[in-house]
């Protein structure tokens, strides 16, 4: 044992290899491999009858994707929904996270964390259906004249609701790490509340918010259920992927559509990488 450990100790590369090997095999080979296979599949087509894949290289799927207006419309709609959800969540999460991290007593802080985490355990579907009930004609929101009815607004609200904890938690973690002395120092140097927020809190908050936004953005880009439940007649990218794949039995086309959210997320990840947000996920 000691001998083996000694060998390990002398050879950090070996240690690194042993540590990194299994996770990389899992993620690098299985996951990336799957994504690569999916991408390759997007360059094939299906036969006319059984939905069997024909391994003939073709860009038809992408041609359809770029030339048929509806896909652009859906892409733009989905991205806008994702952006709206992210912004709403950021706006809603910030005061809560700030209150939790900087104002609440340790005891209340703990209770609030539980209060934020608990909804995560309630089923996604049940929550989405609860919102359907909230938005219904004659439902609780309509009764007070606040229901937007089923449609995009309802979709944005429901998704914002569903992903809110994913925004509050990283923000809270970020703010908790911000020493109180920094806020006090800022106030000591004569900064008003607004200035302290802008100059001290927000820079700390930003990477945390970006980390949260990765969740809200990605989860929204891939969602196809909430929009079905509260979205009226609208559809999102997730629906197209889902319908092409499971309903239409057309994996190549589904794969081609799937490259849109993947590309969007990769662009987003690359953009936020330098903010350090990826460390505060």
């Amino acid at each position: 044992m000691a001998l083996r450990a000694g060998v390990l100790h002398r050879r950090p590369r070996l240690r690194l290899g042993l540590l990194l090997g299994p996770p990389m095999l899992w993620l690098g080979v299985l996951y990336l491999g799957s994504l690569a296979a999916l991408f390759i599949t997007s360059l094939w087509s299906v036969d006319a009858f059984g939905g069997n894949i024909e391994r003939i290289w073709t860009l038809d799927n992408y041609r359809d994707l770029f030339t048929i207006d509806v896909y652009r419309t859906i892409t733009v709609r989905t991205l806008l929904i994702a952006a709206a959800v992210t912004i709403i969540d950021a706006v809603l999460a910030f005061p809560v996270a700030l209150y939790m991290a900087k104002v609440a007593s340790p005891r209340l802080q703990r209770i609030l964390v539980i209060a934020v985490l608990t909804p995560l355990w309630a089923s996604y579907l049940v929550k989405a259906y609860a919102w359907r009930g909230m938005f219904a004609s004659g439902g609780p929101l309509d009764a007070v004249g606040l229901s937007p009815g089923y449609g995009l607004a309802a979709t944005v609200l429901t998704l914002s609701y569903l992903w809110l904890p994913y925004m509050i938690l990283p923000m809270y973690a970020g703010l908790e790490r911000l020493p109180n002395s920094l806020i006090e120092a800022s106030a000591d140097l004569g900064a008003g509340t607004g200035t302290t927020m802008r100059r001290v809190v927000l820079p700390v908050l930003f990477p945390a918010a970006v980390a949260g936004s990765i969740f809200t953005f990605s989860l929204t880009l891939g969602d196809y259920i909430a929009v079905k439940i509260v979205g009226g007649a609208n559809q999102m990218l997730g629906n197209v992927v889902y319908d092409s794949f499971l309903t239409g039995n057309n994996l190549p086309f589904a794969a081609a559509v799937a490259t849109i959210p993947v590309a969007a997320m990769l662009v987003y990840l690359t953009a936020v990488r330098r903010t350090g947000a990826l460390d505060s996920l």
Partner: protein, 407 residues
Amino acid sequence: MRRSTITRAATGAVLALVLTGCGTSSGDDDGGGGGATGSEEQGGFTAPDIEMAESLGDNEGTLSVLAWPGYAEDGSTDKSVDWVTPFEEGTGCQVEVKYFGTSDEAVSLMKSGQYDVVSASGDASLRLIAGGDVAPVNTDLIDNYADVWSFLKDRDWNSVDGQMYGVPHGYGANLLMYNTDEVDPAPTSWSSVFDDAGTYSGKVTSYDSPIYIADAALYLMNTQPDLGIKDPYSLDADQLAAAVDLLKQQREHVGEYWSDYLKETQAFKTGDSVIGTTWQVIANLAQSEGATVEAFLPDEGSTGWSDTWMVSSKTEAPNCAYAWLNHIVSPEANAAVAEWFGEAPANEKACDLTSDGFCESYHAGDEAYAEKIHYWTTPIEQCLDGRTDVTCTTYQDWTQAWTEIKG
């Protein structure tokens, strides 16, 4: 269970949990050709020569069932819903159930030869016959077969040249439902959700699946004979385009598309939807919940479904398989399935066991009614209506079109 009605006809709109056998390997070239030529005209279609059971022996002890979810309940979903346990007790055949999500999946799973019986929909049955995956069924060995409505026997999705390949199990139609308070005068035709959809703009609802294109095609078949649509499941490119245009117009007035009971029932109850397609089971539910709705089958006919239980050609438990077929169309089991699933039973006597008014509300045994149903079939390249001069649009085309329609 109920929701599987949704996935039927390979639509899988709501959940179809599983991938079909497709994917990057295109290994099995299952019956591309054979089943394709199936439906309406069986010209040139010859079923593979598969031996049919002539007599029954002792039960083998186990049975592997491949079924739509909800077709083989053993009480685990709801204690009172159980027709598998009585079968096991009565026959000594221990049942193992595997559910499938789409007809494609059913076909590819049957090819593995691991399953003894399968509940096949119209779009899977012919492929199974042509592929030699299922055996002809000797209906003489199935006592309860005699009680099956005659209009379900020897149909082109369950028989070849007068030879049955299974026993009919249940069927249903897609109806037109409307809110009796809001919709006045009462509609009589599908035109109220197509050409006249504007009257209730924003409160029209349609079934959320590419297969719904057939509803539009059926409507066009009646209203625009020039298009030459003979079968709503075999549309050439122009015919599909016409159906898509019609649906795009309808889209302007659609409040939401539905794909599950709860959603549609809620929508009709709250008044968010006032007119649209439905299933009988939803209409009944909505009424029992106090919604002021009516559902009916318009004169121009409608789309619908019909399922058949079939026996694998490779089964090692033919006796248990026949016992299952006999059991599932027995009045007791058939009634239980029909009520649980929400469809018309195939067995006449089942109607004596169902709750009051059940069979009436589902129009079970109403031959004229059944004749108006155009059963769901997967659209394929070969035109099912017998045309050979054009290529028809496939279900993949329909799926893309459906995305475009919804926009």
